[in-house]
Symmetry: C2
Amino acid sequence: MLVAHGSRREESNLEIESLAQKIALYKVKEFEFVMPAFLEFAKPSITEAIDNCTVIGATKVTVLPYFLSAGVHIAKDIPSEVKKGAQKNPNLDIEITDYFGSRDEIAEILLKTALNIS
Amino acid sequence: MLVAHGSRREESNLEIESLAQKIALYKVKEFEFVMPAFLEFAKPSITEAIDNCTVIGATKVTVLPYFLSAGVHIAKDIPSEVKKGAQKNPNLDIEITDYFGSRDEIAEILLKTALNIS
């Protein structure tokens, strides 16, 4: 579950859906489905997306926060929403990964962007 | 110039400063200095950072927007602030790169994060 903040701008939310589809195209055996979810401004919410996991027969859910910095959304809001969803879906084994901005590769990608290297 | 949104949370802004320093450590010849700048909530602003470029004797400035999606900040706010800074500092050759979220590597990094691969 790729969790983004969500935007009032529909195009931004569509970018997240496309990104989830792009991740799904890697077809790794660990993730049978890749779905987007949003903290605010867009659907599905995190709890709705967790409900959907049960609907599609999932047993294990990996929640991946697509955020650049470790603000209150990472520290409190996402864990809180995940907990609500987990309580309603006790059948699911749910984990939350590191947030995207914690990745070491980011500095190098920024450098490549600045150098206009694809 | 690594341009981030800026946060009311000081720790988030410090993350951006650390990231700028991390990029500087690559010591590529194209970028003698790597400095942070913020659209909101933190200092220096984009126009202040452009003024600082003149102070340190820069002639060329590459503005790199550290944003995940192509919202109004990418489309309007950052170009508008850069234009103000450029008008005040006609000595500088300033370009704005693609925003970070446009990078193709992101899907793969997200997948690695989900798989807990460093």
